[in-house]
């Protein structure tokens, strides 16, 4: 297990190193730079040059990359070219919106997907099961933006129960309004991701129903549902957690879209604004942290699998 963990960890580090190079180079291909943006459309070449000089944008690429990675190894992700604030501090600040939003969305997805997925499998072939099956397919196909617009129209504009956009200025010092502000966005992501997850739960359940040990348990006197819950659920948990791990990336992408739609001051909206401002030091820091997070989740899922599934240990 220790050797396995170390190997996975090494892969994680290699993955991050490759990602850092890709992120750095891809951003350098973008046309336009922050000095042009700061100086604007009434600027003279002299003014742009003065700003470029101030921001040290003319250093050779390997030097810039070296300085960036060197800083990160010391825990310094650099400062924004535009506001001068440290990138990590900005990320920590925006994470106060995006992390709860993601967790909230994931909770909603799980709460919807697991019971309904199991139910849809148990009811297979009956009208209720078919309705759930078709319904989840339809919802999974809905674009997140459209789902969000519809929820806003119903709950914010018609019913007036929830805010249409924004986040309280006092943040989590006002837990009630903050939670209310995140409810619609989380619901938007959660319902769409939940519908996808539901389909996986359903097929995992169907698979479990067909397993020998579930049939054996049923033969020994448990009802089919009891047998499924006691013996089938643990095997289902494995595949559900794998899919959930993959959905983390989906939730991050969803957050980028949803934060725009609901004007939420989170990481997604900041990222879009920073790309638009060509604040490359900030963007590359943000992307590396997000990539690291997704890789870390994958790493955790692998370890979890290894720990919970005896077959993988024996195979090794």
């Amino acid at each position: 297990m220790i050797r396995y963990t170390l190997t996975r960890l090494a892969l994680l580090v290699v993955g991050l190193a490759v990602a850092s190079v890709l992120i750095f180079l891809t951003l350098r291909v973008l046309p336009g730079d922050v000095a042009q943006l700061i100086a604007g459309t009434n600027s003279t070449p002299a003014q742009i040059a003065a700003v470029r000089d101030q921001l040290n944008l003319d250093a050779p690429l390997p030097v810039q990359y070296g300085a960036w990675i060197g800083g990160i190894l010391h825990g310094d992700f650099g400062v924004s070219l535009i506001t001068g604030t440290p990138v990590l501090a900005e990320l920590a600040q925006k994470a106060q919106v995006t992390v709860p939003l993601g967790l909230f969305a994931m909770t909603i997805a799980l709460v919807l997907a697991v019971p309904l997925g199991v139910l849809s499998a148990i009811l297979r072939g009956r009208p209720g099961g078919t309705a759930l099956n078709v319904g989840s397919q339809a919802v999974a196909a809905v674009p997140v933006v459209w789902a969000g617009m519809m929820l806003v129209v119903v709950f914010a504009v018609w019913l007036g129960w929830l805010p249409a956009q924004g986040f309280p200025r006092a943040g989590w010092q006002q837990p009630g309004p903050a939670l209310r502000a995140l409810l619609l966005p989380a619901l938007t992501i959660g319902v769409v991701e939940g519908a996808m997850l539901l389909r996986f739960v359903r097929s995992a359940t169907l698979q479990a129903i067909g397993q020998d040990f579930v049939r054996t348990a049923a033969a020994k006197g448990l009802t089919r549902t009891q047998a499924l819950i006691r013996h089938g659920l643990p095997t289902m948990a494995l595949s559900v957690i794998t899919v959930l791990g993959l959905q983390v990336a989906g939730i991050i992408v969803g957050a980028v879209v949803i934060e725009q739609l609901f004007s939420l001051p989170g990481i997604g909206r900041m990222l879009v604004a920073d790309v638009g401002n060509r604040d490359l030091v900030k963007v590359q820091g943000e992307l590396l942290v997000l990539t690291g997070f997704v890789l870390l989740v994958g790493f955790a899922v692998d370890l979890f699998h290894r720990a919970i599934d005896p077959r993988q240990r024996e195979a090794a």
């Binding site: 046309p31 924004g166 939420l264 001051p265």
Partner: protein, 502 residues
């Protein structure tokens, strides 16, 4: 400047397919409220474009001017919504007959937001910095200033040659008075002399101004103003209907019925200096031929554009109605597809293809109309919608484009037509000479006269097309008074805004 040209994008970004509505034109005043103004009120104003930082010295963009000028930072002089120049930190000012000496009397008892006193030395230092710091915005607009000196409360600006735009430039960035050698971090904080002080900035969300209780003039009528940055018009409409904001700026006139439906808002259209400019690159094989450029202008149905936007007015030359030198040039190149076809035929331009490079934040209404209008006369128009930094790099810096559409919002920016290096690629010595004469003039009417002559030549040269002159589209809560309605994408002076209870 960054987004100075873009901030009114919201006016276009919208859904032009919605039913057209008859809106009140001109510079209507703001709605009157029957309630009593509440001095403890907080007014929430929706804006479209958030500043990337708050550095008024260096960072270009109307997003900064819009909120920081007049409200937080002030100059010796300021401008009114109808573009008159009035005293601000100077209680009075005079200009010598030869246009070489300007004298300002600095007000006494003025303090900065952090409590420091404003001294004549601060004024001399600020103006000198604006002139000499190459990286500062509008540094070149003070190039004719020879010296700035102070004697007691009297500030004297001496010119090397007259500059008819000096006072106007002093109402903008180049005239902002800062505390000498201030230690404030201008990118994220502010220290000015205006009626508001910067409360907080939640990046990606909102900026809050608080009333400056130590302000030298009439105190602000609300305790705080919150600027909520909501780029999307539909989201802004939802926020208004849910009672989360009191004013929507940069709104879409096509959403008039929706926003007014509940009776809590009224749509107000004000004039603006927003110029929807279709630049034509004179280095292009086809566009260097004046007949082709004229054909493009005559192919565009300007009235239809204004109808689709639901606001604004057609425009036929480089100077908008609010600026000096305006003249109705609608006869120069009126809408006439048949004439356009003939011109193209004369020029030998059969089935030509041109590319329109446009910032993707502008939406699709304008490109769609242009594609269809030009197609009708036999020009295939390809649309290349790009990010703003890409536009800056390809079009503004490298002049690598055929046609480009930008909403230029700056007031009094005719100088770009007199600058052959500007991305317009327009080079006419006569226009450049007239512009210099206008700068040299010591009489305002005379200066405007030269601009008028020059503007006519620019239009007759078919240097570009001015697709429309935008309007300031503002939805104002019925509990709000004193909300400006003219050119609010450029400057939003909130000294008078008040909010009543209930």
């Amino acid at each position: 400047m960054l987004a100075r040209t873009l901030v009114a994008a919201a006016a276009i970004v919208a859904t032009a397919a919605l039913a057209l509505t008859g809106c009140t034109g001109g510079s209507a005043g703001t709605p009157s409220s029957t309630g009593t103004p509440d001095p403890e009120a907080s007014a929430a104003i929706r804006l479209v474009l958030e500043p990337s930082n708050l550095d008024i010295r260096q960072t270009a963009g109307a997003a900064l001017d819009q909120i920081l000028m007049d409200n937080v930072y002030q100059g010796l002089v300021s401008r009114t919504p109808d573009q008159k120049i009035v005293p601000a930190l100077a209680s009075e000012f005079t200009k010598s007959a030869d246009g070489l000496t300007y004298t300002f009397t600095l007000r006494e008892g003025v303090t900065f937001a952090d409590g420091q006193k404003l001294t004549p030395d601060d004024v001399v230092w600020s103006l000198t910095q604006h002139k000499t710091q190459a990286g500062w915005a509008d540094a070149d607009t003070l190039s004719r200033v020879k010296s700035v000196t102070a004697s007691g409360q009297t500030i004297t600006i001496t010119m090397s040659t007259p500059d008819s735009t000096l006072l106007w430039n002093l109402t903008g960035r180049a005239g902002v008075i800062l505390k000498k050698d201030d230690k404030v971090d201008y990118k994220t904080a502010a220290n000015g002399t205006g009626p508001f002080v910067l409360g907080s900035w939640k990046q990606g969300d909102s900026i809050t101004f608080e009333r400056n209780d130590a302000y030298w003039g009439t105190k602000a009528k609300v305790k705080e103003v919150v600027f909520d940055y909501i780029p999307d018009n539909q989201a802004a409409l939802n926020a208004a209907l849910a009672g989360e904001v009191d004013v929507l700026t940069g709104f879409d006139a096509n959403l008039k019925d929706q926003v007014e439906a509940g009776g809590d808002f009224r749509l107000v259209l004000g004039k603006s200096t927003d110029k929807g400019t279709l630049a034509m690159n004179s280095h292009n094989t086809w566009l260097k031929d004046k007949r082709v450029r004229q054909a493009i202008r005559q192919a565009i149905d300007h009235e239809a554009v204004v109808k689709a936007l639901g606001s604004g007015q057609p425009m036929y030359g480089p100077i908008p109605q609010l600026d000096p030198g305006y003249e109705d040039l609608s006869a120069v190149a009126p809408y006439d597809p048949a004439a356009a076809k003939q011109l193209l035929k004369d020029a030998g331009a059969h089935d030509i293809t041109l590319t329109l490079t446009i910032y993707n934040g502008y939406g699709t209404t304008i490109p769609q109309i242009l594609v269809s209008d030009l197609n009708a006369v036999g020009i295939t128009l390809k649309v290349d919608a790009v990010e703003f930094p890409t536009w800056l790099n390809d079009v503004y810096i490298n002049k690598n484009y055929d046609l480009s559409f930008v909403l230029h919002t700056e007031a009094r920016d005719f100088e770009n037509w007199a600058n052959p290096d500007y991305y317009f690629t327009y080079d006419n010595p006569q226009v450049q000479r007239l512009y210099q004469q206008s700068l040299d003039a010591t009489d305002d009417a005379q200066a405007a006269g030269y601009l008028k002559q020059a503007a006519r030549i620019v239009s007759e040269d078919m240097a570009a097309d001015w697709v429309y002159n935008g309007a300031s589209v503002v939805a104002v809560g019925t509990n709000i008074t004193g909300m400006p309605s003219v050119n609010v994408n450029e400057r939003l002076n909130l000294a008078e805004i008040a909010k009543s209870k209930g």
